[in-house]
């Protein structure tokens, strides 16, 4: 049955790729899509972009999620919220537990070994300094504890690993105060966030900085990969960049971490997976009202750290706006395939590898043109290096509505993880309650009227369409 679904999906994809889709996307069994906004915030109209997700291997019920969702009460309390689920993602509550005035300017998070410990890296409002935070119990009303802070940092991206004695925390970030313009950095804590060391991972000359995205991925054997953009030259708003990956084979606990993967061209740390790619840096609405310029994701097979997947976006120059590439290494990053997937006019690539080796590939793509253009969010997964893959369209929504309130429109990233036999993730999209926008089905807890495609507030009055975060789960291919 499942094989037939895959085959049908592949055939459909082959027939339709490059053309406007006419046939409704296939329905994949067992998929859940849930709007995170709870019923008591039915009146909200904010642009809840850039979602992220954290979950526990040991407790399927507890999850934390975030987005650019403001404290409903405003900034006076000096706190910003996270979403919390204690029923496996079926329902979510919003809790004001982050030390930031009303909202954050960036946020990612990851769990500790023992539920309900949570680590978070935020850019705090106001002033946007980096705050590295910890909650011993993210379900508690207590504000998360500040563990480290500094200014001049961009895009903290948190991953964790479970060591016997303490949580290890890896925060990829772009540190503008790093020497010599080599700003790609990983803040490493080997003691549950009590202390951090900033580890510089760029070893080559840059244009004065690296790209914003520095993405760690950790396997169970403590192998840590980090992907980053090696920005080498700029011309106007175009950046010429290398796509580089460093590796550390012992959890980055040594004196000179991230030196275990050299490039054969110069024998420097940081394997150059692609060189001299063209990055269109556009901090303005460019792709379906979204900005572009720093899409990057890396995922390692948690049980077999030899296998690692990498995705990034650049401009190929064949009329594309922004193109996502997906590649794989089976020898610890030493050699890489060519593109296993090449997706035009797409962004927000997120990767995860399940315990059985199936790779999940989440992305958001603009299809169609002008007023008929749509943001299509898909999760593809494959067991054979994308010779075949299953394609689940999670959402297909108008790209021109609602109008943007700020940037990012839907996010500079989204989130994909895996646990057991499920891929679990979050994405942001227009929240019009229209069943045709969600081919796998969707659950709203906020008040809606599907018959009239209207959002309603607590009194039943119509609420404007906005961007909401959506949680999803998709069964892993067996």
């Amino acid at each position: 049955m499942r094989t037939r679904v895959i085959a049908a999906t592949v055939a459909l994809y082959a027939a339709c790729e490059g053309a406007t889709r006419q046939t409704p996307p296939a329905k994949v069994a067992g998929v859940r899509v849930v709007d995170l906004i709870p019923p008591t915030l039915s009146g909200e109209t904010w642009q809840d972009a850039e979602p992220f997700l954290a979950l526990y291997a040991s407790n399927a019920q507890l999850m934390a999620a975030s987005a650019f969702t403001p404290n409903p009460g405003g900034s006076a309390s000096g706190t910003a919220p996270i979403f919390v689920s204690n029923d496996g993602g079926d329902t979510w509550t919003l809790r004001n537990t982050l030390p930031s005035e009303g909202m954050t300017a960036d946020i990612t998070h990851a769990v500790g070994a023992t539920p309900p410990v949570l680590y978070s890296g935020i850019l705090k409002v106001p002033g946007v300094p980096l705050n590295e935070l910890k909650a011993s119990d993210f379900l508690s009303p207590a504000t998360m504890t500040l563990q480290a802070s500094r200014a001049d940092v961009d895009q903290p991206f948190v991953r964790t690993a479970q060591a016997a004695s303490a949580d290890r925390v890896y925060v990829g970030l772009n540190d503008f105060d790093a020497p010599d313009g080599r700003t790609a950095t990983v803040d490493v804590s080997l003691d549950g966030g009590a202390t951090y060391k900033s580890r510089r991972i760029e070893t080559r000359a840059t244009v004065g900085q690296n790209g914003p995205s520095i993405r760690p991925a950790v396997a169970q054997d403590r192998t840590v990969y980090v992907a980053y953009f090696g920005w080498r030259a700029t011309a106007g708003s175009t950046v010429t960049s290398d796509i580089a990956v460093v590796r550390d084979d012992s959890g980055a606990g040594g004196a000179t971490p991230f030196r275990d993967l050299l490039d054969p061209s110069d024998h420097l740390p940081g394997r150059l997976v692609a060189t001299h790619v063209t990055i269109p840096w556009s901090n303005a609405p460019t792709l379906g009202q979204e900005r572009i310029g720093s899409t990057l994701s890396i995922a390692v097979n948690p049980l077999h750290s030899d296998t690692v997947y990498l995705a990034w976006a650049d401009r190929v120059g064949t009329g594309d706006i922004y193109t996502v590439h997906l590649r794989r290494s089976g020898d610890r990053g030493a050699t890489w395939t060519g593109d296993l997937r090449t997706v035009t006019n797409a962004t927000n690539a997120s990767l995860a590898v399940s315990a059985n080796g199936t790779v999940g590939f989440l992305y958001q793509q603009v299809t169609g043109s002008d007023s008929s253009s749509r943001w299509v969010t898909r999760l593809e997964q494959s067991r054979d290096g994308f010779t075949t893959h299953q394609d689940a369209v999670l959402a297909t929504v108008p790209a021109n509505s609602p109008p943007l309130q700020f940037l990012p429109y839907i996010g500079d990233y989204n989130g994909l993880l895996t646990r057991g036999d499920q891929f679990l993730g979050v994405f942001s999209a227009s929240n019009t309650p229209d069943s045709t926008n969600f081919p796998q089905g969707v659950v709203y807890h906020r008040r809606v009227d599907f018959a009239t495609h209207r959002l309603l507030d607590g009194s039943g009055a119509t609420v404007s369409v906005s961007i909401d975060p959506f949680f999803f789960s998709v069964p892993v291919l067996p």
Binding site: R95, N96, V207, P408, S459
Partner: protein, 279 residues
């Protein structure tokens, strides 16, 4: 503490001549609250939402009238709200009060943290209380604006004559080669002062730096356009690292106006003058 103050105030409010003191203290409660409602305690040591553990600090309140709430929040008469009280044992079943609270957990139901409460109400008092909260909020807004003005270097009514790229000194941190999605993309507005309310005189020109970025870090920050008129509350630029700029060949201080209260309608100039004269 707030609860005791509120009880004391309730007595004071009943006394002739106590309105001013009562209003001031109610303003304090209002200032710290974002959800204010009248209701009756139905259960003590209990909760109405599954996400909050019951404790000796939690009570369930039946809402009779919502006086203030954020637009996003779905809360109305007839709902049950879980309140984490400021003090255990301060509320009994059947207690009627106006609750001053901040939002805590929003899920299937709402849980709030108590800032304070004013005990007792009646159908007549509901309308009075609604008006009193509205007056207190207005008073708080005035107090907030006055404090804001006191911290400002300059307050002027005027017109934006020109908008230009910001001239930041080369060594300023914000001017270093730094490509980030959070880049403010500074510009400068040159304002012709028509009414110098604080720190300036009519006829002067002042330069105000403002971000043009659409990035989330700058959402809600005031923007300027040529021809725009208003009352502007200006602060010396301590953000960009380049405190001065140039106008007509002269080096002059640069200002910023990043708070929502920094750009007000032109007719607010009179209100500001009145506020500045108040003790």
């Amino acid at each position: 503490m707030y609860t005791r103050s509120a009880m004391f105030l309730a007595v004071l409010l009943a006394l002739p001549g106590a309105a001013a003191l009562g209003q001031m203290s109610q303003a304090t409660l209002v200032k710290q609250s974002d959800i204010i409602f009248i209701g009756t305690v139905t259960q003590v040591g209990a909760v109405a939402v599954p996400e909050v553990p019951a404790s000796n600090r939690t009570v369930v309140v039946h809402v009779e009238q919502v006086l203030e709430k954020p637009a996003a929040v779905a809360l109305g008469a007839g709902d049950s709200v879980t309140v984490q009280t400021a003090q255990p044992g301060s509320l009994k079943p059947g207690s009627q009060a106006t609750f001053y609270t901040t939002g805590w957990i929003f899920g299937q139901g709402v849980a709030v943290r108590e800032v304070g409460h004013e005990p007792g109400h009646s159908p007549v008092v509901v309308a009075d209380q609604q008006a009193a909260v509205a007056r207190a909020r207005l008073g708080m807004n005035d107090a907030e604006l006055k404090a804001h003005i006191q911290k400002a270097a300059m307050v002027v009514a005027g017109r934006v004559e020109q908008v230009r790229p910001a001239e930041l000194a080369g060594g300023a941190p914000a001017h270093r080669t730094r490509i980030s999605e959070h880049d403010p993309q500074w510009q400068e507005a040159i304002i012709q002062v028509q009414d110098g309310i604080k720190g300036a005189q009519a006829g002067e020109q002042v330069v105000v730096r403002f971000p043009t970025s659409l990035d989330v870090a700058w959402v809600g920050t005031p923007r300027f356009a040529v021809g725009q008129e208003g009352t502007f509350v200006l602060h010396k630029d301590s953000i960009t690292g380049s405190p001065e700029t140039v106008i007509a060949g002269r080096s002059v201080p640069a200002y910023t106006a990043l708070h929502k209260l920094d750009v007000l309608p032109k007719q607010d100039a009179l209100r500001i003058r009145v506020l500045m004269k108040k003790p």
